[in-house]
């Protein structure tokens, strides 16, 4: 099944609007994706017809809300190939998912001299929580390097996976470089050494089919808002035994079995990690987003974006002075680049004047920028609703930038 991008575009109300008086060309989906009407409608409908707090009321409305909420948990489990719905923890986003695991690991497993292994292409959200956990426990954070193209240096990974390694945390797909890591092989290698693996899937899930049974990782994290769903919701998958081994993250209502002043007892997974009233409508929105991409087909989405990536690479190669940052063997449609003699922010401002929205800066990945000796890049990131016309608008804007700075 081929993706009809023009029809897809019509599903996204914001893509019909203007920016700076020009039709919006949205090339910043890696930061956050736009929302289809189906998601907006589902949330509105839920508030209008089925809203009440979950897991609490004996009344019909609360029961209905709970069913819808828990229905999305099962839906997420099917979507990413988790074995059971209780392996799905609803959190605020990928950042909170990683913090939850880091916090738990610090309290249960990490000790002085232990090591947590990450890579040089991580987003700050997969660096700082581990830094904090390591500092708290006297453990050491170790980093696998990347090469000039933006691929992981696998022999280095092999060397650093040692007897003191308590966890390997790495990104499935790099947000700054677009690199798709060979995570299946990496998980296999880590497991051979007895090291559990957390994958940051924030940039993977919107662009390709993810099957956790195939990947075999211990933890997987992603955000609703990058998957065309609302902000404020994310998913932590944890294999049941791994989740059971972690202590609760926050204390409060809904995560307890009984509360006494002497001591409280906690729920089982996933509820022991879900203190307080969750973002119920957000979860409903995530469910609608998963429905939406599933209907289009993740394989069709991946094929569309791959074709677009090829076209964009070819078009951008004709812009004089443009240098791509990140040319890994396998990539998603995330293109970081610099223009000779023009700072990324100036490029961003000029593109914005032409209605083209891109991200400029360090993309919450300062170590990546340092690796390539640049302060910032321009990043154009594509999603299922982008077309060749968007690439053409980008190229036109870049040529304007070159004129201004000629």
């Amino acid at each position: 099944m081929r993706l009809d991008a023009e029809r897809v575009r019509a599903d996204f109300p914001i893509l019909g609007t203007n920016a700076r008086g020009k039709p919006l060309v949205f090339l910043d989906s890696a930061a956050s994706a736009q929302k289809p009407r189906a998601v907006l409608d589902a949330m509105q409908r839920f508030y209008e017809t089925s809203y009440a707090n979950v897991h609490r009321g004996v009344y019909e409305l609360s029961e209905r809300a709970t069913q819808a909420f828990e229905g999305v948990r099962s839906q997420v489990a099917r979507f990413i190939g988790a074995a059971e719905a209780r392996e799905i923890v609803f959190v605020r986003g990928t950042t909170e998912a990683i913090n939850l695991v880091a916090h738990g690991l610090a309290r249960t497993t990490l000790g002085p001299g232990d090591e947590v292994l990450i890579t040089a292409m991580e987003h700050h959200s997969n660096i700082v929580p581990w830094q904090m956990a390591c500092a708290e426990r006297g453990a050491r954070l170790r980093v696998v390097g990347i090469d000039d193209r933006g691929d992981l240096v696998l022999p280095e990974l092999d060397k650093l996976l040692g007897p003191r390694t308590k966890l390997l945390a790495l990104t499935h797909v790099s947000n700054a470089l677009g690199t798709v890591n060979p995570v299946r092989e990496i998980v296999k290698l880590a497991h051979e050494r007895g090291v559990p693996v957390l994958l940051d899937g924030a940039q993977a899930v919107p662009h390709q089919r993810v099957d956790l049974q195939e990947l075999g990782c211990d933890f997987y994290a992603f955000s609703s808002h990058k998957l065309f769903g609302p902000t404020g919701v994310g998913v932590l998958y944890g294999r049941a035994d791994r989740l059971e081994a972690l202590p609760p993250y926050q204390g409060g209502g809904d995560m307890i079995l009984s509360v006494r002043f002497e001591a409280s007892t906690y729920q089982g997974i996933p509820y022991k990690f879900e203190a307080g009233t969750p973002d119920i409508a957000g979860v409903i929105g995530l469910g609608a987003a998963i429905d939406y991409v599933s209907r289009l087909g993740l394989d069709a989405i991946a094929a569309h974006e791959h074709e677009l990536l090829g076209y964009a690479n070819e078009s951008l190669s004709r812009v004089p002075g443009l240098r791509l940052i990140g040319t890994a063997r396998e990539k998603v449609a995330v293109i970081s680049f610099v223009l000779e003699g023009i700072h990324a922010h100036d490029v961003g401002t000029i593109l914005d004047q032409h209605g083209v929205a891109v991200r400029t800066g360090h993309h919450c990945a300062q170590p990546v920028m340092e690796r390539y000796g640049i302060p910032a890049t321009v990043r154009a990131s594509f999603a299922l609703y982008n077309t060749r016309a968007d690439v053409d608008a980008l190229v036109r804007g870049l040529n304007k930038a070159r004129e201004v700075f000629a």
């Binding site: 700072h343 922010h345 100036d346 401002t349 800066g361 302060p375 910032a376 201004v404 700075f405």
Partner: protein, 150 residues
Amino acid sequence: MSDLRELYQSVILDHNKAPRNFRRPAAANRSAEGYNPLCGDQLSVFLTVEDGVVKDAAFEGSGCAISTASASLMTEGVKGRRVEDIEKMFESFHRLMTSNPSSPAEDEGLGKLAVFGGVREFPVRVKCATLAWHTLRAALHGSAAPATTE
């Protein structure tokens, strides 16, 4: 597109291409680092202050055209001035940058620095223009912590 020409005036483009006072003077007795966490712009300002007068001003670092040109023009503008006059310049510049873009620019006493009036139309770029000034002020006040635009 007239806004874009307002922003990237030829003076700004010229100072970006060939920044003045882009060096680290050995005689400098005041310095500070400035950092814009939003975009990663980073610069250091070096001052030689004698008898309450800034005898020399220079900078180093990396940033966009607006922040580079602002630092360049600033170092030119403050050289030879008394510290208290520079404080006033800082305030005038800051006022200009944060004023409503639809009101006429109050750029009296700013001389060449008035070219940054066009930045007002681009709120996210205002910090690019003010970074050098915050850093200059930190150098004058001898702050140990790096200046930021936040």
